[in-house]
Symmetry: C2
Subunit: 151 residues, 2 copies
Amino acid sequence: MAPALASVEAEASADLIRAAGVKVTRGRVRVLDALHAARQPLSHAEVEARLGDASDPAVDRVTLYRILDSLVACGLALKAVDTRGVFRFSAAGAQRQHANHVHFRCTDCGGVFCLKAEPPPPPRLPRGFRLNEVAFDLRGTCAGCSSRVGV
Amino acid sequence: MAPALASVEAEASADLIRAAGVKVTRGRVRVLDALHAARQPLSHAEVEARLGDASDPAVDRVTLYRILDSLVACGLALKAVDTRGVFRFSAAGAQRQHANHVHFRCTDCGGVFCLKAEPPPPPRLPRGFRLNEVAFDLRGTCAGCSSRVGV
DNA sequence: GCGCAAACGCAACCTTGTTGCATTTAAATG
DNA sequence: CATTTAAATGCAACAAGGTTGCGTTTGCGC
């Protein structure tokens, strides 16, 4: 039963939103659900498409922008920019699985590959600097693109 | 004498453009000059502002986009996207000075700081992967922003 | 249920970036 | 040097992404 599952997810999202200290609205719950269900960060347009169900109309474009910003502001979502300059949003916590290993970005196809290696310890920072996150990104061509070029 | 210096720079840019196998036009020379003179990657608007001199009018907005793209296409410039989703362009070669050390990006003010430490050796890659570049980026708050928050 | 601040929907607007087309120009050729 | 041609430019219009202002609705504390 899909509705039951959806309802459970909505409850979880609603609780998160309530705990964040902001109003629980249908729009926020549905957007946060969509972000949680997605495996990759979603653009504004992608979120809009996933909410545009037949039963109930999608939220307003501007409201969606504000919902996304509000989720970011209260720490439930993260905002990043992709290679085309478009903002992408992901549910907070989803990135933690990507925080502690190394990424390989293919400059040819744009794909991102997660390597098993752990990032090395960060060097000493100047006085007053506070470290939050370490990103160790390698760039090059992946196996698929390397072989395709050779053909 | 500034004009003499500018002329020398223009000659160098013109030679680079000629060597790249594309037409040498006034617009391309001036844009490449601007990119070389800049210490940071410039946005389209910033390039436009630097070319908008009193003596001769700035190039057309669209033409500037095409000039920047053509410089990227022939390998004389690099295109990247900043945290606001805006494309920034830098002269090719200028990035090499940033390739071999660690960067600290302040998530508060957006500033980038170059640390003295060298990046650690990359881990072993899966078969077929080719490595071109290593980026070891630390994220957090810089000294200035940390102290300002504390006040 | 009542009241109020927060959230929403709508319209208009701004910035960044792109496309089509007529005109100009770099530079190769004779 | 004159001719020629493909590339580059300028202009207008457009498209996508994102923001602002404002009146209306709604979550939620009382």
